[in-house]
Amino acid sequence: MERMGVKRYLRIYLYYIKFGLIRMMIYRTSFFIELLVEILYIGWLIFYFKVVFGNVSTVSGWTFHEVLFLIGLNIVVFEFFVGILYVWRLRLLPERIKNGDVDTILVKPLNTMFNLTLSSPYVASIISMIPGFYLMAYGWSQINQPVSFMNILWSILVTICGITIGYALLVGFSSLSFVFTNAKFLPDLGMDLLEYGQNPHPVYSTGLLRFAFYFVFPVIFLASIPTSLLFKETNGWFIVLAVSLAVLFMTITIELWSRLIKRYSSASS
């Protein structure tokens, strides 16, 4: 029964992607403008680090090409969150709650977290991942470092854990909209925290920063740790921590969501 449930959700999600594509084709001008903005954002990120490395040769022992790979992976992961979660869902959640527009979603025979967070993919972001993959490929080609198959597997595993942690953080922050009415900043707060993932993690290796970004908001597992596992050091402790935190954060977020959604009362007539 559980496997059929997962299959059903996958089939429904494919329909959502199809609707997203149709919507994209109907509003083609908006799509191209949005795609341009996504590409400009990526360009800005690359330009920013080009300026940094125009003034220094390494950042916490990371070379420009290692950081380029990190940025590429960060772009892929970030665009994943923007497209799958943020633009047409979490960003609009506070206003939907305020206006009572969540009612029609809650009465559907689907998991509420799935329906409120994943049901409107923003296809332009998926296309915007392509420059990220290009940067990863380019950065990798410039790094003179042999990479083993196991390192690649560990890196992929930690990236998946990082995405799980990122999803939990975003949904966790956004779910507070059920408590704080019209707090439009909540989903943005989650997205802003993900931006800390664009820096190499040794930058956060002292004192309070270490505690914050390794345990409380562990965004270093989105891109920096996976990059480090590929090109710098295979630290088993990071792998264990990534898996543990992914499970912990998802458990907390599911529990938080279940409790907070019970507080929802419709504002519509």
Binding site: Y27, T29, S30, I33, E34, L36, V37, L40, Y41, W44, F47, Y48, V51, V52, G54, N55, V56, T58, V59, S60, V87, R91, F180, N182, A183, K184, F185, L186, D188, L189, D192, L193, E195, Y196, Q198, N199, P202, V203, Y204, L209
Partner: protein, 265 residues
């Protein structure tokens, strides 16, 4: 004039009602500041200066960026653009006031509210920084000159954002324009880095554009890099750009409102 003061009072009250959004703004700006500062503090562990900036100057720069943004930033396009898309502009068109002045009052009310809440925090932050570094970079003269440019930058930004808002007559959503503006200011306005971190060629190019007046120029005055001898030329430059933005905004309004149609119940 009374009707516009009434609009101002309404939006000021509305800002008070949704105080949590201000807390969110403060946290958001602190996060943004933090992302950049942690990186630069790490860089300065191995460098004395970067682009002629010492650590204390770089820290002051990035700490002041959000404060400057509170004065110069305008986020009208998101709200008003949505109203155009949803057909709610009709309610504004039937009212006995000019929409652009009403929008200016709306922005001004929200800004004054935000500033009144944030200013004491910033004063404490700057005092804390001066004590931490045992040095003071800011002078009263520099701060006042910087604030003067900020006010002019705010007016420039208002008309720029107004022009962006009217693009909603032709597009499905204006959310992407806000994002586009953030990127432009990040690169060309001095939000992400001072112009001194760039090559001379790029510095010259960026100085030709109006975005520097939103962040980089006010910050230069506050940090003592520009003085009263630059003021007249800078104010002249802003005035020219304000004139250009006003022309673009009103041209877009004239074209857009003729095309506008509100459909549905």
């Amino acid at each position: 004039m009374q009707k516009y003061l009434g609009i101002f009072r309404n939006y000021f009250s509305s800002s008070l009602e949704y105080r949590s959004n201000l807390i969110g703004l403060i946290i958001k700006e602190m996060i943004g500041m933090g992302v950049i500062l942690v990186l630069w503090v790490t860089i300065y562990q191995s460098e004395e200066t970067v682009g002629g900036y010492s650590l204390i100057k770089t820290v002051h720069y990035y700490v002041l960026v959000p404060f400057i943004g509170i004065i110069t930033q305008v986020q009208l396009s998101n709200e008003l653009g949505k109203e155009i898309k949803d057909g709610l502009l009709s309610s504004h068109l039937t009212k006995p006031y000019k929409l652009w002045i009403g929008s200016f009052m709306r922005v001004l009310a929200e800004k004054i509210f935000t500033l009144s809440m944030v200013l004491p925090l910033y004063i404490l932050l700057i005092i804390g920084l001066d004590r931490f570094f045992d040095a003071s970079l800011l002078s009263m003269r520099g701060v006042l000159l910087g604030l003067m440019i900020c006010l002019a930058g705010f007016i420039l930004h208002f008309f720029l954002d107004l022009a962006i808002t009217w693009l909603a007559f032709w597009t499905d959503d204006v959310w992407s324009f806000k994002h586009f503006k953030d990127i432009i200011f990040g690169v060309l306005g001095g939000v992400s880095f001072p112009f001194e971190f760039l090559t001379p060629g790029l510095q010259a190019l960026f100085h030709l554009l109006p975005f520097k007046f939103m962040y980089y120029i006010p910050l230069s005055y506050m940090l003592g890099d520009r003085g009263a001898d630059h003021l007249v030329m800078d104010l002249l430059g802003i005035t020219v750009w304000i004139g250009i933005m006003i022309s673009i905004a009103f041209a877009l309004w004239q074209m857009g409102v003729r095309k506008y149609g509100a459909y549905g119940g």
